[in-house]
């Protein structure tokens, strides 16, 4: 069994290269069939996300003459080998399993510890399995990879805290409100970061947003995406009491949200809290607003500071994840190896017993007339001798496979040595 993975990811390959090499989800079954045909792989899985394209294959040992996966990838996507040679990585054997477990656990992700990749790995495996391209080996590896990913995220803090400004903003608001789904978000200005931040709240099911902008027409793009209603900047003060969370990202040299305005809004809300997320530079919300009761203000420096701390803490957690991945990868390899060993040992025993039976069949006529008891005794004798002869090699094969010190093609050597089919 030759396990291998070739691929490109966000670390080495620029987005243009990743775009060229990526696969459409609908075409994956077809691509998997082509990959197996070209490379002679017994099983294959293609993981294609916006940050990586990886081809996982398992081939029977010594399947010589077949095309390399990397060459197939270049041919299939219509790029010269030389164009991707420098950004391509390859792993074989145990390293493939380690790599898969790191990817599934989000340890190789652009945002360390992100969980979206778990669903992507699961989907890649599902497509391969449903289309008949993943079998025993990848069933073991991918199912274990998903278990390891879950274990990593439940036993370590690798995914703790937010690792982006929008995620942290939403988490902070979640520290004030019990259920963001019943809250209304107001966005002041229609900047790109503001849109991302609004999206983070929208994902948590907040009510239709209020989009405040100097030019109401410019707010239409956000309304089209998130729903809600547009309000002119001149009506900001009057609309403020309706909002539970206010995201500001307006290009303005003056504060557009002042303490007086907020105090009036809080009175109108009968003391209900408001969270201000000010991601504009220069700032849109007067810092004095944070001194008002039940008002919580976070500016871009606060959010970036928290993001940096969270990422640093996640990196710190890496040290706890690596030993887990290593031990699980070894266990997976052992599981696969044991299955192979059982199969080889079974075949070896069958072959040797068949050979003994064949020789006995030839010998019966030479022995003349024998009683049934005598015949049975000879059959038992031959079985015992065959078993005794096999005991040494089978024990040695099992032990050698278990301690992992054998050469990669150990079972192949055994197969050839005993001429096992």
């Amino acid at each position: 069994m030759e396990l291998s993975v070739v691929g490109v990811n966000h670390r080495g390959a620029p987005v243009e290269v990743r775009e060229q090499l990526s696969f459409e989800e609908a075409r994956l079954p077809e691509a998997l069939a082509e990959l197996r045909r070209a490379t002679g792989a017994a099983e294959a899985v293609i993981l294609s996300t916006c940050n990586r394209v990886e081809l996982y294959t398992v081939r029977a040992e010594g399947a010589a003459g077949a095309m390399e996966s990397s060459h197939w990838l270049a041919l299939q996507r219509g790029v010269p080998d030389s164009a991707i040679a420098s950004v391509l990585y390859r792993h074989a054997g145990l390293d493939v399993i380690r790599h898969l477990f790191r990817v599934a656990g989000g340890l190789d992700a652009m945002v360390l510890g992100e969980t979206q990749i778990i669903a992507q790995v699961k989907e890649a495996y599902r497509v391969a399995k449903d289309s008949g391209h993943a079998d025993r080996v990848f069933n073991v590896l991918f199912q274990r990879a998903l278990r390891v990913a879950k274990q990593i995220h439940t036993t370590t803090a690798i995914g703790a805290g937010g690792a982006s400004v929008p995620a942290v903003a939403a988490r902070l608001a979640g520290k004030v409100f019990q259920n963001l789904a019943q809250k209304r978000v107001m966005i002041v200005g229609a900047g790109e970061t503001g849109e991302f931040t609004l999206a983070a709240f929208h994902e948590r099911g907040t009510l239709d947003p209020l989009v405040v902008n100097r030019t109401v027409e410019h707010a239409e793009r956000l309304i089209a995406r998130f729903g809600g209603r547009a309000v002119g900047l001149d009506r900001l003060a009057g609309t403020l009491p309706e909002a539970d969370v206010v995201i500001t990202c307006l290009g303005s040299s003056e504060f557009c949200v002042t303490p007086d305005m907020v105090e009036t809004a809080v009175r109108a809300r009968r003391g209900e809290p408001i969270v201000f997320i000010d991601i504009a530079v220069p700032r849109n919300v007067h810092p004095g607003v944070n001194r008002i009761e039940n008002i919580y203000l976070f500016d871009i420096d606060d959010l970036q500071g928290i993001v940096a701390q969270n990422i640093s803490e996640r990196e710190h957690e890496l040290a706890r994840c690596e030993p887990l991945i290593d031990s699980e990868a070894r266990r997976a390899l052992q599981e696969l190896g044991e299955a192979d060993v059982h199969e080889v040992v079974g075949r070896l025993r069958d072959a040797q017993h068949a050979m003994a039976d064949e020789e006995l069949r030839k010998t019966w006529p030479k022995l003349g007339a024998l009683s049934p008891d005598q015949r049975q005794e000879i059959e038992y004798l031959l079985k015992r001798v065959t078993n005794k002869i096999l005991h040494g090699p089978t024990t040695a094969i099992k032990e050698a496979a278990r301690d992992g010190s054998t050469p990669v093609n150990f079972l192949e050597i055994v197969t050839k040595l005993f001429r096992i089919k």
């Binding site: 439940t154 036993t155 803090a157 703790a160 805290g161 937010g162 942290v168 988490r171 902070l172 979640g174 520290k175 004030v176 409100f177 019990q178 809080v266 009175r267 809300r269 009968r270 003391g271 209900e272 809290p273 944070n290 009761e293 039940n294 919580y296 976070f298 606060d302 500071g305 928290i306 701390q309 969270n310 803490e313």
Partner: protein, 272 residues
């Protein structure tokens, strides 16, 4: 011999659960949290076993001495916090409640078990219910106290914008605040019922009006008024949030201190 042993083991168990709980919160470790929870349950069951044993000794509810009532307060606080933790997933509240429950147990150990048997009229079921309701109210006020402390810590961190520490296992401000209000409301209902029952029983059984001027009666009534004010304040926009939480904390501290002191002054509520 067995009673002091049960008490000391349960104190050790609750202390270990508190320490483990705080450590679990710091490390954000669910497995440690689970261990702390189990330890707290075991310690509480030991206290209950102790109370059962005492109840069987003198054939009634074990609520007729200062020692017993302190044990009962500890059990009720842990019980209330654990049930909120298990039903609402508010582990931090349970962890915060453990040291609060540990305090009465330590007091109980300090004053020791009374040698004398309770007076006959204290064995009446109405007295047992009256004491149980009042202690239940104090336990629920204890939960409100812990929820308010959580609110104040979270509020302070959010106002100070102190980074990831505020993104840990703490519940949202709204959760802590709602819990505070619900606990205050439940405590008021229990305390009102306890006071009314005590009054009705006292009027029926005791002669004269001197018992109505008892320090404990007066201070409990004042506590009830304090809590009504705090609960009412929570509906005033200007007092919503931090101020109500502060008032709830202050009220609990004052009530616990005066209740303790009043039990020494009181003639009528003087326990063995």
């Amino acid at each position: 011999m067995l009673t002091p042993l049960l008490l000391h083991v349960s104190i050790l168990g609750l202390a270990a659960a508190s320490a483990l709980g705080l450590f679990a919160t710091r490390r954000e470790s669910p497995s440690m949290l689970g261990s702390a929870r189990i330890l707290a349950i075991v310690a509480t069951l030991l206290v209950l076993a102790l109370q059962l044993r005492r109840g069987m000794e003198f054939g009634g509810l074990p609520l007729v001495s200062r020692f017993d009532t302190l044990l009962m307060v500890a059990v009720l606080i842990v019980g209330a916090a654990l049930s909120i933790d298990l039903t609402r997933g508010l582990s931090v509240l349970m962890i915060g409640a453990l040291p609060v429950a540990l305090a009465p147990l330590l007091f109980a150990a300090a004053i020791g078990m009374p040698d004398e048997h309770p007076e006959r009229n204290l064995m009446h079921p109405a007295v047992g219910v009256h004491v149980f309701l009042t202690l239940g109210a104090y336990a629920v006020f204890g939960v409100a106290f812990v929820a308010s402390i959580l609110y104040l810590i979270e509020h302070r961190q959010l106002k100070a914008r102190t980074g990831p520490s505020l993104l840990g296992m703490m519940p949202s401000l709204e959760t802590s605040y709602r819990l505070t209000l619900r606990a205050l409301a439940a405590g008021l209902v229990l305390l009102t019922a306890g006071i009314v029952l005590g009054y009705l029983y006292g009027r029926q059984v005791l002669s004269g009006a001197s018992w109505r001027l008892d320090a404990k009666v007066w201070l409990t009534t004042v506590s009830w008024i304090f809590y009504v004010i705090v609960f009412g304040m929570s509906f005033v926009p200007a007092f919503k949030g931090r101020r109500t939480a502060l008032a709830s904390v202050a009220c609990f501290v004052i009530v616990m201190a005066t209740s303790w002191v009043a039990s020494f002054w009181s003639h009528f509520h003087r326990y063995p």
